[in-house]
């Protein structure tokens, strides 16, 4: 009897409330929007970017977007351009619908805007330029010895239990000079590679040093048959 009375009370309570607050009642905001109308940054980023760039906490194979230094040197418009058209040489896909991707321009805007919300600081005073022409190979070797050899070895072929080769032709064949420059500037703090300012304590790398060391790295490029490529050819 008690149970019957109780359930009757429950039912009438539900009936009286007009079923407004029951969990089964669908809410418009719970609906999955059409893929082109997704505007939630978290969803967009985790579906399209996190696999390679990590989600800000996790690490990915390529540079994290949650890197204030990187964001401070890369102009926002340029990132929008990279997301839109891709960077074929580095394997970055084009994401805009016009280029065969799956994102609308508006969605790309949302992603880029929100990534830049992670940028905390203005660029440091001694920040090198995001892009610059290649420098001098010979000087680059010296810069490498001073700044990079402690982990990557004097010859750049890597040191056991420290860091791997940066002159492997396959590696160099898969990244652009700009990629090498970006990593030289921003490092991979999430994987233990310091940025340009902290490789040698108290002595930040200059813009020229960075251009030189990139030139030195690029000079190791080979084609698939092991023949050296001139730096201009990349």
């Amino acid at each position: 009897m008690k149970i019957a009375a109780l359930s009757l009370a429950c039912l009438s309570a539900i009936a009286l409330s007009g079923c407004d607050n029951v969990p089964g009642r669908p809410k418009k905001e719970d609906r999955r929007p059409e893929p082109h109308h997704v505007t939630d940054f978290k969803t967009l980023y985790s579906q399209n970017c996190a696999g390679c760039h990590g989600n800000g906490q996790s690490v990915g194979p390529v540079i994290s977007m949650n890197d204030p230094l990187y964001l401070s040197i890369l102009p926002k418009e340029q990132m929008r351009q990279i997301v839109t058209s891709g960077r074929a040489q580095n394997g970055m896909p084009a994401f805009s619908l016009a280029n065969g991707g799956s994102l609308t321009n508006e969605q790309i805007g949302i992603i880029v805007d929100n990534i830049y919300a992670w940028a905390k600081n203005p660029p440091p005073a001694n920040a090198p330029a995001y892009s610059a022409p290649l420098g001098d190979v010979a000087r680059g070797a010296a810069v490498f010895a001073a700044n990079c050899a402690s982990c990557h070895g004097a010859d750049g072929k890597g040191l056991k239990d420290k860091a791997g080769s940066v002159i492997n032709p396959a590696y160099l064949g898969l990244v652009s000079d700009q990629y090498l420059r970006t990593i030289t500037i921003a490092g991979r703090n999430d994987l233990g590679c310091p940025d340009f300012a902290s490789r040698v304590p108290g002595k930040a790398m200059t813009n020229e040093e960075i251009s030189d060391v990139v030139a030195w790295l690029a000079s190791h490029r080979e084609n698939e048959f092991g023949q050296k490529l001139a730096p201009a050819q990349q």
């Binding site: 394997g91 896909p93 084009a94 065969g100």
Partner: protein
Amino acid sequence: MTTETNNDKPCGCDHTPEPKKTSRRDFLLLLGFGLNAIAGAMIGIPLIGYLLSTFFKSYPLQWISLGPVTKFPEGATRLASYLNPDHREWDGQTAEIPCWVRRIQENDFQVFAINCTHLGCPVRWFEESKLFMCPCHGGAFYENGEHAAGPPPRGLYEYPFKVENNELFIQGGILPTLANPMDDKKPRH
């Protein structure tokens, strides 16, 4: 007519019936059945014809424009769509049919149906690995539509195409199935 006998015996049935009259009744019953069979057929055959009209009708492919060839970059595969040439006003969104257009070079195209040859789910193109993948049962196809992996029995269905005045036309307007694949590719087995 036969009222006389019936008037004598309100229930003539349980008395020995005269053979002559029985045969007349039989005839009238048969006549009744027969008339109804004819009437039924006269109504029924058109009904069946109406119902089965789509069964017997053939739907030839029609030339449909996919727009100027410049819409499709060379060496790329892009999603395109066309208005079903046989659409109704109340078709809504279903009138717009998608397809994959691969422009190999200049006027050399391949236009694939969206439908996986396994069970018709929409395949998706992945530019980086140059594969079409199906979200239902994991069928995969190469860039040229050939079967790459999974259960599909053959490569992607391909629309016949032509280029006229720099405009790409395909011959379509049907849902391709194994029974009507639009092309003459052979199944794998």
